[in-house]
């Protein structure tokens, strides 16, 4: 902990100081104090602007004084020759002597003491926004009723932050609205809706009156909306300058209302409501959507039905429809992953004692023909040769349905006739 006082003597004091010396003393007293530095003895070689030998006092990078020559106190009742009042708690004293001194000089003797600084009065800019209270070694700020000291311990503001709005509809106004809002405040409001809803802010132009922007267009008092991806505002002036309806596309909005020390107006009042996030009406090929709606929003569920002859193949299973939900991010679930593709019946199964022509394609509607190994086999059921790829992914025949044709042996027809010579 730095000392509250101290002594600074030149080298060899009170003997003569040596040549070619440069010595610096860093003086520090506790925070919240200033420094009263005074000299009771000064006997340093005199020169113009104290170029040769000197005692320099610097604080905060500014030279407070530079002493040289021989002086004594003018006031018989006080030993002080020179004194300095520094309103900071640090300074530097640097003694310099050059190489040649015709005479003996005995240097200097100085003392410093910590003195209370009246932070409330001694500086141009007052450290507190409202009430400043000085005490030895420091100061503290205090606030009028209804105001609270902010975290910076300097500014007073009303306690208008922290409100979280979670209802789907709500109204928010500046403190005391429509009476003048508090100065020097920062109010943060949070709207937090369920995922899947976007906050829509509506404002009436006349419900907004704040200190107008300065010449550079900066708002001394401002209202702004911030979402994860966007920032709306800041707004100020008489009459709301922004869009009267703001679709934030986000389920969370932070509202920041900031005021300075002057120019209070009636403030603002806004309404908000949660709009379910819309999902785009996608055109997914070869399918129809049920229900058909002009607009789909969060939590809407649609059944996407493949048109006849198309199906959804997922792994080893297939289906002709699937459900998709409008998600909180405005995208449909599964819709990119699942597609209605033509039913593919696959290569038709072979049959014993027959064959099936290689189909051009095996998609819905395709036709294939079976033939038996003639002349030894024939098709058991007339008209069971032609199969068509059906909607359920099987090859179907008019007569047999999905059952495969059957090639059965031709009976009673030898491949060679038996000719006898018998008459």
């Amino acid at each position: 902990e730095p000392a509250l006082h101290g002594e600074i003597l030149s080298p060899n004091y009170p003997q003569a100081y040596p040549n070619e010396v440069k010595q610096t003393w860093d003086v520090e007293v506790p925070e919240g104090f200033g420094i009263h530095l005074y000299f009771t003895h000064l006997d340093v070689e005199l020169s113009e602007n104290c170029l040769y030998d000197s005692v320099q006092i610097v604080s905060g990078g500014v030279e407070e004084g530079k002493l040289c020559g021989q002086r004594t106190s003018k006031n018989p009742s006080s030993p002080i020759i020179e004194e300095f009042h520094i309103p900071y708690n640090k300074l530097q004293v640097t003694f310099t002597s050059d190489f040649s001194n015709e005479e003996r000089y005995t240097g200097f003797a100085a003392y410093y003491v910590a003195v209370d600084v009246n932070e409330c009065m001694d500086f141009a800019d007052v450290p507190c926004s409202h009430f400043c209270n000085n005490f030895i070694g420091g100061y503290f700020c205090s606030c009028p009723p209804e105001y609270f000291l902010q975290d910076d311990m300097r500014n007073c503001g009303v306690n208008c932050s922290g409100d979280v709005f979670t209802t789907l509809i709500g109204e928010i106004a500046s403190p005391n609205y429509p009476n003048p809002y508090p100065e020097n405040s920062r109010c943060e409001y949070q709207i937090r809706l369920e995922e899947g809803f976007q906050v829509v802010v509506t404002m009436k132009r006349e419900d907004f009156d704040m200190e107008p922007a300065d010449l550079e267009g900066n708002c001394p008092d401002s209202l702004g909306f911030v979402t994860r991806d966007q920032r709306f505002g800041p707004y100020c002036g008489n009459g709301f300058p922004g869009p009267l309806t703001i679709e934030t596309k986000s389920n969370t909005v932070d509202i920041v209302f900031q005021t300075d020390l002057t120019g209070q107006k009636k403030g603002w009042k806004l309404r908000y409501h949660g709009d379910p996030i819309p999902c785009p009406k996608e055109v997914s090929a070869n399918s129809i959507w049920e229900p058909e709606k002009a607009k789909y929003v969060f939590k809407d569920v649609v059944k996407i039905i493949c048109v006849e002859g198309f199906e959804i193949v997922q792994g080893s299973s297939s289906s002709t429809s699937f459900y998709s939900t409008c998600q909180s991010n405005g995208k449909w679930s599964d819709i990119s992953r699942v597609k209605c593709q033509p039913v593919d019946c696959g290569t038709p199964e072979p049959v014993r004692n027959g064959n099936v022509e290689e189909p051009e394609d095996t998609l819905f509607g395709s036709l294939v023909r079976y033939a038996c190994e003639e002349p030894y086999y024939y098709m058991e059921h007339e008209g069971s040769a032609e199969y068509q790829c059906s909607v359920n992914g099987t090859w179907v025949n008019e007569v047999l349905g999905a059952e495969l044709p059957k090639c059965v042996p031709v009976c009673g027809v030898p491949s060679e006739a038996f000719e006898m010579k018998q008459r």
Binding site: R352, N353, Y377, V410, C411, P414, E416, F418, M420, K421
Partner: protein, 251 residues
């Protein structure tokens, strides 16, 4: 076969050779062979071959071998008498179910089963064909298939046959309506041809086909008239047996 000639299996593609019984059978479809009960009464798993004109071992190795899954002997078939020769060949019919389906082709294809409708009836004078590797005028059996054509006659013709052996009393034999008589002019089947088909071509529904009218069953004297099991009387049993013992797919 008496009074026949060498033939090609292509002319009798339904002909089945029962190797250990040295007998014949008729292929009905991919899974069934029809034969005489007396051929298989002693062997539940006869070894059979199709598609070969000759039956020497080297040829049979190249033929299509059939494995019996089960033999179905007609319930009306009487077991042989403990002494003496069998006199009763009534219901001399049996079915053999095959383990594996038969592959048809120019040398192998089934004979048609007649329906029970009258249009399938066979009349006296219908010309039939028989084939087999059985006894001929000169040999007890042959390695190369022989065949012959012969007319269906009345059963009396068979009852009037006198065997060379005067000991044999024709009237001691059982003749029933389940039997057909065919032959004449020296054309006949004989031992070793048993179970083979008496095939008769019929034009039914504009398509001429051979139907199995009879199965070589017995006779008093080869080279005269022979008795054949009258298959048409067993169509119900045949169909029922095949139906009840088919694999599901075959229904």
């Amino acid at each position: 076969i008496f009074g026949g000639s060498f033939v090609k299996i292509e002319s009798f593609p339904w002909q089945v050779f029962f190797r250990s019984e040295w007998a014949g059978g008729a292929l009905l479809d991919e899974h069934w062979v029809l034969t005489a009960a007396h051929v298989v009464e002693g062997n539940p798993h006869p070894a059979m071959y199709v598609g070969s004109t000759t039956v020497q071992t080297s040829e049979l190795d190249k033929a299509q071998a059939l494995t019996a899954e089960r033999v179905f002997i007609h319930p009306g078939w009487h077991p042989a008498p403990s002494q003496g020769a069998r006199k009763n060949f009534d219901n001399d019919i049996a079915l053999v179910r095959l383990k594996e389906p038969v592959k048809m082709g120019p040398t192998v294809s089934p004979i048609c089963l007649p329906g029970s409708a009258s249009k399938y009836n066979f009349s006296v004078g219908d010309l039939g064909m028989i084939s087999g590797w059985g006894k001929t005028e000169k040999k007890d059996w042959v390695l190369r298939l022989r065949g012959a054509k012969l007319p269906i006659t009345t059963l009396d013709m068979c009852q009037e046959v006198r065997g060379k052996d005067s000991q044999v009393e024709p009237r001691s034999y059982v003749f029933t309506e389940n039997m057909l008589c065919a032959g004449g002019a020296g054309v006949d089947s004989c031992q070793g041809d048993s179970g083979g088909a008496l095939a008769v071509k019929k034009l039914i529904e504009k398509s001429p086909k051979f139907y199995v009218a009879g199965l070589v069953s017995w006779g008093l004297e080869c080279g005269t008239h022979g008795i054949y099991t009258k298959v048409q009387n067993y169509i119900g049993w045949i169909r029922a047996t095949m139906q009840e013992n088919s694999t599901p797919r075959e229904d």
